[in-house]
Amino acid sequence: MSISPEEIVETLTMVTQQNLDIRTVTLGLSLGDCVADSCDGMATKVYDKIMRKAERLVSVADEIARDYGVPIVNKRISVTPIAQLAAACSDADLTPIAAAMDRAAKEVGVDFIGGFSALVHKGIGDGDRRLIDSIPSALATTDRVCSSVNVASTRAGMNMDAILRMAEVVREAAERTADRDSIGCAKLVIFCNMVEDNPFMAGAVHGTGEADAVVNVGISGPGVVRAVVSSLPDDADLTAVAEAIKATSFKITRAGELVAREAAQRLGVQMGIVDLSLAPTPALGDSVADIIEAMGVERCGGPGTTTALALLNDAVKKGGAMGTSSIGGLSGAFIPVSEDASMVAAVEAGALTLEKLEAMTAVCSVGLDMIAIPGDTAVETIANIISDACAIGVINGKTTAARLIPVIGKGVGDHASFGGLLGAAPIMPVNEWAGTKLARRGGRFPAPLNSLRN
């Protein structure tokens, strides 16, 4: 037998005890052919196209999970940023398109559909403006639709008007869903350097450089990496830690590569990318904070956290890059506070603060993610937190993002609960020096120099 019993047991243990799973199989769909001169006409075409193209997605993914014995937790869809379609009509309210996406998502059985999105890093077009204005209503009246807006890029700099507008939208989305701990904001990501092939929510879109339909796969497995790091002796040096993470990342990426190839073949669409992200879930042990602590940081958020996270992020990519030639998406380690039980514990212990999360943003996959903040946080404060995250991305040429949830009616000491994989989180204190003047200046933060790199 070419496969040893030890290798078989290792794979089984990864799945049964260490939460190895394929986090998502995401079907990317172009909606370029759904343009119509009215919003309702477009909504009908969008619904029909999703129903037609994604009909078999869930059953095929379930079949693959059974055949290989590796769970596929989520099946999702990403679509062309809706703002691009919206330019063709003149309706002010684009919520009917979101409603059509939601209805189709429910009927084909996917848990989220991403792409109620706009890219406005350099300027806001008419369709973009109407889409952004429709986000609070779209998120309040749908369950599965996710929205994302790109407000900055290394090539264009930062659109400060868009950032302030998005801070207002975050606030409006929070108010519209105040009765559900402002869950609308959990489905809204504001990006710098958004990628076009991300399979993870809430930021998935099907970019303009993509084929008509592609399958992108997001792998996970923080529990597997933690188990490997924990099994090392306490005096193992960091080279050994990096090597162990790299080897493990290779294995879990290979599982993702296999699933992506199979899914593409069975669905008869092109294989897109494998996204090697360590994505935590609220399940015990499925935590990125646990890996950081297993590496020797006393509590996630304490000194050394940025070092540990940087090493983890780099080693995951190195191992993953060996495992697939189709590396893409966000690829790295996610640090969503509410979705990671040990990160929540670190916040509650006072070890992890918003400022430390911002530092971690510089070395992780995307950054400020699923952070509950007081409901009365000023719009200008939210805008400046977003722009700080974007500044890190713009200057360092990486994707960064902010998914902030001002929980209306709640303050520091309270908790917010979003349910399912979105988890629950304590409300984190926010630095109250708002920087109102800076946030209201507007204009553009010019594109940075890409040399003189200190």
Binding site: I8, V70, A255
Partner: protein
């Protein structure tokens, strides 16, 4: 269509495990290519390389039959396509 798969069985040792598993495979038209079995501290552990003839019994039906045997004997029985191990453990 013939599909190579890895069958793993784990649980408390008792009389008739190999017989029951082999029997289920034979009835499904699946061929055993290789077999390794040990008992560690009373825990029965067996891995098999099998070829499932899907023209006789589809893969998922073989999985269902083996799951029934596992349930009857109180064992964890897993049948997975072989590629997943090849992909994960070989460069």
């Amino acid at each position: 269509m013939k599909t190579r798969a890895i069958l793993s069985v784990l649980g408390e040792d008792r009389v008739g495990i190999v017989a029951a598993i082999s029997n289920a495979l034979a009835e499904a038209g699946a061929n055993i290519e290789d077999i390794r079995q040990t008992i560690l501290s009373g825990v029965f552990s067996m891995t098999m390389l099998v070829t499932v003839n899907e023209d006789i019994t589809p893969f998922q039906n073989v999985q269902a039959r083996l799951a029934e045997v596992g349930e009857r004997l109180g064992l964890q029985v897993t049948l997975q396509r072989e590629d997943v191990f090849r992909f994960m453990h070989r460069v």
